[in-house]
Symmetry: C2
Subunit: 312 residues, 2 copies
């Protein structure tokens, strides 16, 4: 029996509540398929489109109606954990019943600890929320000197937030405790609510977003997982992606991964963080393995019949 952290992409969850529920229901047979092979499962998930929508809704509504407060990003992430966790709980419970399995499922609202000195705080790179005209953006930045904004792909100006690296999972013990009691745990949604420790040791939320693949790798490390599964839209990691000589990788050592990363084989916003997260987990201890595979092929990937296996 292995302990597995499964990272689901936020883009695999659709753009509306109806889409989200039906895409999650479609994914659940593969997820529960892993459990029926006798493994322990923790599910983490992205929240890019979802936290973007929540943040945008509060941005727009707070301008229109004073009963709606502007909502800091960390609180939007907390909301997205409730929203997505609820749908995952429902979908997985249903599939457990169909497959007649005794496991329970629970969502843990998760804070992920980052370093206040992380250089990302000096260099915010993640665009989030509403689009503004250049003139409005200039005004906003003058009014708030800390605010960074950038033109985003010809669609307008957007706020940039930092994306620091995770260093610990605040709710590690809650997750382990549920896991020990035959729970499928949903945790670290959207990369977790980013917090820093203050001088007394208390957690304070910070307006940032944590990459869900890095958060999942850290989660896998701190719960002593054997496997990190990063589930996405493609069956394998590829080199020369989209070229005539494209090659699907069945296995990749961390050394090979380093080489491919250096030669620019992986897209910055897509495969690169997945491969980096996989490598960081595999290097965190002896015998750790990572798999990058497509969501619907997850049980096959567990049997080495699909996906890319990353080993030391």
């Amino acid at each position: 029996m292995a302990r597995i952290v499964i990272a689901l992409g936020g883009n695999a969850l659709g753009n509306t509540p109806e889409e989200q529920q039906s895409m999650i229901e479609a994914a659940c047979p593969a997820l529960v398929g892993l459990i029926s092979q006798g493994h322990e499962i923790i599910i983490s998930h992205g929240n890019g489109p979802q936290v973007g929508m929540i943040n945008l809704a509060f941005d727009i509504a707070a301008r229109e109606n004073k009963k709606v407060s502007p909502m800091p990003l960390q609180e939007c992430t907390a909301m997205s954990q409730g929203y997505i966790g609820y749908h995952l709980q429902k979908g997985i419970s249903r599939e457990l019943r169909v497959q007649k399995m005794p496991w329970q499922v629970a969502t843990v609202i998760t804070q992920v600890v980052v370093d206040p000195l992380d250089p990302a705080f000096q260099n915010p790179t993640k665009p989030i929320g509403a689009f503004y005209d250049e003139a409005v953006a200039e005004q906003m930045m003058q009014a708030d000197p800390k605010l960074r904004m950038k033109e985003d792909s010809g669609r307008g100006w957007r706020r940039l937030v930092p994306s620091p690296k995770p260093i610990d999972i605040a709710e590690r013990k809650s997750i382990l405790n549920l896991l020990d009691n035959e729970y499928i745990v949903i945790a670290c949604g959207g990369g977790g609510i980013p917090v820093v420790r203050d001088e007394r040791g208390d957690y304070c939320g910070v307006p940032a977003v944590i990459d869900k693949d890095f958060a999942s790798a850290k989660l896998a490390e701190v719960v002593g997982a054997d496997y990190l599964f990063i589930l996405t839209a493609v069956d394998h990691v590829c080199v020369n992606f989209g070229q005539p000589d494209q090659k699907e990788l069945k296995t990749m050592s961390t050394g090979e991964a380093d080489m491919y990363i250096q030669s620019g084989q992986f897209g910055a916003g897509s495969m690169l963080p997945k491969v980096e997260a996989a490598v960081s987990f595999v290097r965190s201890g002896w015998g750790k393995r990572a798999v990058i595979a497509s969501l619907d092929q997850a049980p096959q990937a567990m049997r080495n019949e699909s996906g890319t296996l990353i080993t030391l």
Copy 2:
């Protein structure tokens, strides 16, 4: 050692994220004070102002921008559980550190089961979300014959949703499991995400809201709690409230409560559901006790020095 369910009013949590965090931090010494007396604690909370704000934000933003989807009420409640649970987790963790206590704290995203035949579904009574002009409201009701709307205190027309009674807590086992492992559990936020069981036994969300006092009483019943604490803004339940002969009650039997309810002593939207929920819990088993007290006097109420104790 007693097992205690504590119900916090959503109105005690403020209207903005900043207010909410500071009001929760102010409440935490009293909450953690109960634990330091050696008790097991489950915290439930209301979400009236918060789910109203989330629902309103999506109502407004979905009209303005097609990237924002209209958000069903049950998903808004799931978001509010993440939002409020996160702040409670932070505040309680901090206070546990200050008081040097070893407990952990976790938020459980909770579905609360209601009966699809509950008469409340035929008679929606809870106003929620945006205010509309009468003409717009008429149009909306014509476009959607299931939609019920009502003029709300001269402020405009609002959607009405049903408020069915809770019959079970879907995440009962998760809550008990954490409690057995020295966790302070935050559960049933906003009365829980309302769900019905379909013919296969799966849970389906329904657009409704469950009264948080009734949900807390049901939670207290299903986890075998000894006490239900309903914490509010006043120190005692009163009869002849606001009259020259106002009388603060130190104790009240369920029979006395019935009598006061029948004679119209308690306000429909305020003290009445609290007293009804307390009575229903006390009658659910031998030796069960309920306390209605003010938030800042919770530890005193546990020592019978404040609040109204409701017994069989």
